[in-house]
Amino acid sequence: MKTLKTLALGASALAMASAASAEISDGKVKIGLLTDMSGTYSDLAGPGAVAAAEMAIEDFGGTVAGAPIELVTADHQNKADIAANKAREWGEAEQVDSFAELVTTSTALAVYEIAKQQNKVVLVSGAASSPLTNDACIPSGIHYTYSTTALANGTGKAVVAEGGDTWYFLTADYAFGQALEADVTKVVEGAGGKVLGSIRHPFPASDFSSFVLQAQASGAKVIGLANAGADTTNAIKAANEFGLVAGGQSIAALLMFITDVHALGLETAQGIQLTTGFYWDMDDETRAWSEKFMERTGKMPSMVQAGVYSSVSFYLKAIEATGSDDTDTVMEWMRDRPIDDFFAKGGTIRSDGRMVHDMYLARVKSPAESKGPWDYYEIVRTIPGEEAYGPLSDSTCPTK
């Protein structure tokens, strides 16, 4: 009898679900998350990004508009061809509705191509390069967490304002490094500063002593690190070792994540200025979410991981509200509404795909200032979204 009743309940629930998800393609919403699971960016994105997406889905209740939400993940190994192949396979054979995370610019650009052909939503969190919302933009792509433009307008501007008016770059030799160097160069020259030169190092590089020595010889006041992850931490270590800072030059780590600071230790990282889209210890909301993330992963979230949660949640909200997972419908809903959660206050998605939200200029605390584990940043200034990302009129996105 009891079994029968359960069966009947189940059947009616199914019937309701199928009615509600009439506009959900193939009866479920499937998100494909591509990230670096084992390489140099796996700490700042990787398994933590997967955990963030899982949390977003769980907090949503596991279903949206009556349809189950499914997450599939893969390791793109920071290689564009792997990312593109996986995205194509997911889109064609596995009915994936959207792609998320995508650390490493080259993988994001590759997936943009696929998503454009297949008309799928892309929620980029990890990749930084500004071309994603300029020449390479696509109508269904959202560049969510940060960008090289914001890093340039944050750290770059602050350093020039403090008198750092001659620069020399150590640049990771791929799309991201070049985009970051170009964006910071624009800011430095715009403020009357001068770029004396740059060096393009292989990605990833294991020894930075040679590059540091050349930067030292350049005589520039500021050595800008246009790289990320292990490259940044190893470059900072080499710069300290070879007395670059002691010799009167300063280092601008143009992209640094909290996981990098954690890996370096405050003794080495103290005093570094950086621009971030998120810090766990800002208010009750950020703390509450980050504590939950910490419980699950054992680490505090990077801005990329927090951005994954926020972007996936907002995407699910759009499906819930419109009752559809159709790309154009969902994109239209998202563009019309502000993002208000622990990650962004009043964030907006522009027609070039840029999610504009406030950024923060932070300074890494000294070991004496830090009150405990992960107490790493002092927020020096809030950079309003408009200032960080520049006006839409500057964007060269053809479909804006």
């Binding site: 190092h201 040679s210 020595l213 070792e241 070879f242 990098d260 890996a263 003794e267």
Partner: protein, 296 residues
Amino acid sequence: MLTDLLGFPPQVLFGQLLLGLINGAFYAVLSLGLAVIFGLLNIVNFAHGALYMLGAFAAWALAHFLGLNYWVALFAAPVLVGGFGMLLERFLLRRLAGVDHLYGLLLTFGLALVIEGVFIKLFGASGQPYPTPKALTGGINLGFMFLPWYRGWVVVASLIACGVTWYIFEMTKIGAYLRAGTENPKLLQAFGVNVPLLTTLAYGYGVGLAAFAGVLAAPITQVSPLMGSNLIIVVFAVVVIGGMGSIMGAVVTGLAMGLIEGLTKVFWPEASATVIFFVMAVVLVLRPAGLFGRTA
């Protein structure tokens, strides 16, 4: 002046040459371990990078959990990791004796992936910081560059390791046994020498050298699970250029490739990751057995 012709002041060039020598010292110690293992066991040890990483992690763990300093780690880590290597040889690699090289290569490559995977899971890819020993912080201004004491020490320590290895293999009785064991293990066994034990010890020694290089590298780079995989391919190229199994070849080529790479970092930084492979290709065409290898 040549340097003026190339558009670089001599200071920059001297600095880069010195740095190249320092990196070359790393290559020398690592490729020496590989050469020992290949020469005596006929195994292409792709786990070498992972074992180098284990050496650095052993130093970090000794400091982090037991409070032991760098100098202790410099001896303890190679012994620990070398012991681990001997277990690998005794229980895994020995089963592949007598079969094609390819099997040993595949097994050690698989081992490397497993070891690195476990460490990424445990510690994350960004790794752990390891401080420079107090006595070697700071440096000296050489006029053309600032040389950190620690980097100077790396060259000295590496050359000592290379010298000791050369002495053991070329000048001692044990070395003679080892060389005889490669030529004709059966005959040596007939003389009452325990050849399997010798082989295990030789593998342990090669692995110990990798771990030693790992400890030397710990204060310079982050102690990260990926530190070995970034280096191992270059080191293999060095061994191929020097001639598989040649001890002298490994040391000389290691230093020379460090210098060539250092120069490339000045003149064409983008190519610095590939220049060694270019040299390798040229050497393979002109002298397939390597610069110091003996043709069979």
